[in-house]
């Protein structure tokens, strides 16, 4: 019979048992009791409702009331929408007080990203206050689902979502944003009240402090 035949037989057995289960479920359903059935009668209409005229007048009042209400239309290209402060738009890479990229290339954002749209290559940082920094930091904006989990995962608050929503391009390659572009977006949006910088200037942010309390940061002597 061989292995394949054996497997087929097992599958058949499983199928049969599944059919039996379905059959017993059906039997349970047909055993519905008479008192479980509720018949709903049409509501009786009184003289007032049967005249229809009051109802029609009520409807006319409703439409007239709406005619004098302010329209809810957003005139988008002329008037920009008023976004909430936690709007999740295009990413940016924050700079620290010295204007350097804040990211420490810890890969947490790339790991947590459900769409796998973040691509980071880290290297020895040339600065004393951190081990690593990203030499390559690319986000595929077309692949991103704008869930904001990278922002939450980041221990140094280096990646943030801005309120930029009108993202356009003529090719897929154009919308893969690299490190420089993400830094430029930071420069463009840092003064926008809708995109506040959520961390304090020179330090690496609250998460870095907690890490420092557990184990004091090792100063990198190689510049």
């Amino acid at each position: 019979m061989g292995l394949a035949g054996c497997r087929r037989a097992v599958a058949k057995l499983r199928l049969v048992s599944r059919f039996e289960e379905a059959g017993s479920a059906l039997e349970n359903q047909s055993a519905m009791k008479a008192e479980d059935v509720h018949w709903v009668d049409e509501p009786t209409i009184g003289l007032w409702e049967a005249m229809y005229v009051p109802a029609i007048l009520g409807g006319l009042a409703t439409t007239l009331r709406h005619a004098f209400q302010k329209p809810v239309t957003q005139e988008y290209p002329e008037v920009a929408p008023d976004l909430p402060p936690n709007y999740r738009g295009v990413h940016r890479l924050n700079r620290d007080a010295q204007g350097r990229v804040k990211c420490v290339a810890c890969m947490l954002c790339a790991t947590v990203c459900p769409a796998h749209c973040i691509d980071i290559i880290g290297d020895q940082a040339p600065w004393a206050d951190r081990d690593k920094y990203p030499t390559k930091f690319e986000i595929d904006e077309l692949r991103c689902i704008y869930c904001g989990m990278c922002e939450q995962a980041c221990p140094v608050d280096a990646i943030e979502l801005t309120s930029i929503y009108d993202l356009t391009g003529v090719s897929r390659e154009e919308l893969i944003y690299d490190r420089e572009k993400l830094l430029i977006i930071y420069d463009q949006t840092k003064d926008n009240p809708k995109d506040p910088i959520r961390t304090t200037g020179g330090t690496l942010g609250p998460a870095a402090k907690i890490l420092g309390a557990i184990s004091p940061p090792t100063t990198n002597t190689k510049c």
Partner: protein, 386 residues
């Protein structure tokens, strides 16, 4: 003399047709704006300031679009049908007064054909020819959907003509004339002074007739809640399924012209025409009285048009069997009872205030009887089900 008369007529006809077609174009704009406001939207606002040039753009689009005549249609009748739709509604305007008229032939008569004694009959005779445009349009399209749509529309229009005509008979009896100009005159001359002359209008005298007229007029003009020809979602449109470009626009214009005609008729028959207490009465002789009267009449027509549009964006569409049972089981008997009521009041010389009270009682009584019949039917159904 005859030449000047002819010239005056031609100018009048050109003015009226131009005004009506222009009004149609802008009524479409007004309707779209109104519907937008009632649905908390902005409405057309792209073409010109506040979208005012939208009608021009729509007209241009209709003219420049490809005018498809499918190969399987009867060409002559296919082209004839929209022409009839436009023609009949415009023709009815010949006897509808759009301002004051007088028996003095030297004065300007604000009606194309003054002094026609069967005015209202002419309007209905010509207006009922519009059913040919539905039947011919649907039949010539050689398409089952169009044919069924044509049957539906023609059944609707023919059925609603009965209560429409019958509801008017009461008004005609009250003013003892079929002449529209004289019907207006009789409402203005009720012998009531000051603001009380407002109650000379037939809408107070015969509220039931006014309601029946308005409901049937909506159905005649294919307006919502009776616009089954336009029910694309449920019924694949009506008789004009195969029409495109200017020929479709002509059906459309015919419908809007019909709405204007109906509004003029309602203003003339039930709202006292050019009469308004304190502004324009039967005896107003001050200079410029004619202009005031035209303005009053046009304001009333605009109000009725607005009301019809308002109804359209408020009520849902009727089902076809509901539509037919409404007229045959509701409006037709009520309209006949209303005539009997007017005849009795006139014959025995009862005071006029009996009329409104009795007609409201008629309406309530009819509703009660209808409710009892419905309840008995429901009880029978429940017994049969048990």
């Amino acid at each position: 003399m005859t030449l000047t008369l002819l010239l005056v007529w031609l100018v009048k006809i050109a003015l009226v047709i131009g005004a009506i077609l222009g009004a149609c174009a802008y009524l479409i704009y007004v309707e779209r704006k109104l519907s937008a406001y009632m649905q908390d939207r902005m409405g057309p606002n792209r073409v010109g300031p506040w979208g005012l040039l939208q009608s021009v753009a729509d007209g241009l689009k209709f003219i420049l679009k490809e005018d498809v005549i499918p190969r399987h249609v009867d060409r002559f009748l296919f082209i004839l049908a929209p022409c009839i739709a436009m023609l009949t509604t415009l023709l009815a305007f010949a006897v509808v007064p759009f301002g004051p008229t007088s028996s003095d032939p030297k004065e300007v008569q604000f009606v194309i054909a003054p002094g026609i004694d069967v005015g209202i009959v002419f309007v209905f005779a010509v207006g009922s020819l519009a059913v040919y445009s539905f039947i011919l349009g649907g039949w010539a399209s050689n398409n089952k959907y169009s044919l069924l749509g044509a049957l539906r529309s023609s059944a609707q229009v023919i059925s609603y003509e009965i209560p429409l005509g019958t509801s008017i008979l009461g008004v005609v009896l009250m003013s003892s004339s079929l002449n529209l100009e004289r019907i207006i005159q009789s409402q203005a001359d009720q012998g009531l002074a000051g603001w009380q002359s407002l109650f000379g209008w037939n809408v107070w005298m015969q509220p039931l007739a006014a309601m029946i007229f308005l409901v049937s007029a909506l159905a005649e003009a294919n307006r919502l809640p009776f616009d089954l020809p336009e029910a694309e979602q449920e019924l694949v449109g009506g008789y004009h399924t195969e029409y495109s470009a200017m020929k479709f626009a002509m059906f459309f214009l015919g419908e809007y012209t019909h709405m204007i005609t109906v509004s003029f008729l309602f203003s003339a028959l039930f709202l006292g025409g050019w009469h308004f207490p304190g502004i324009a009465g039967a005896g107003s002789v001050y200079t410029g009285a004619w202009a005031i009267k035209v303005a009053v009449l046009l304001a009333k027509v605009a109000a009725v048009v607005f009301f019809i549009m308002w109804i359209r964006w408020t009520l849902p569409r009727f089902r076809f069997d509901q539509l037919m049972s409404l007229t045959w089981q509701g409006l037709v008997p009520l309209a006949f009872l209303n005539i009997v009521l007017v005849m009795v009041v006139k014959q025995f010389g009862w005071p006029v205030w009996v009329l409104p009270i009795a007609s409201i009682m008629l309406f309530v009584g009819a509703v009660a009887i209808n409710g009892m019949v419905l309840q008995r039917r429901m009880r029978k159904q429940r017994l049969a089900a048990a």
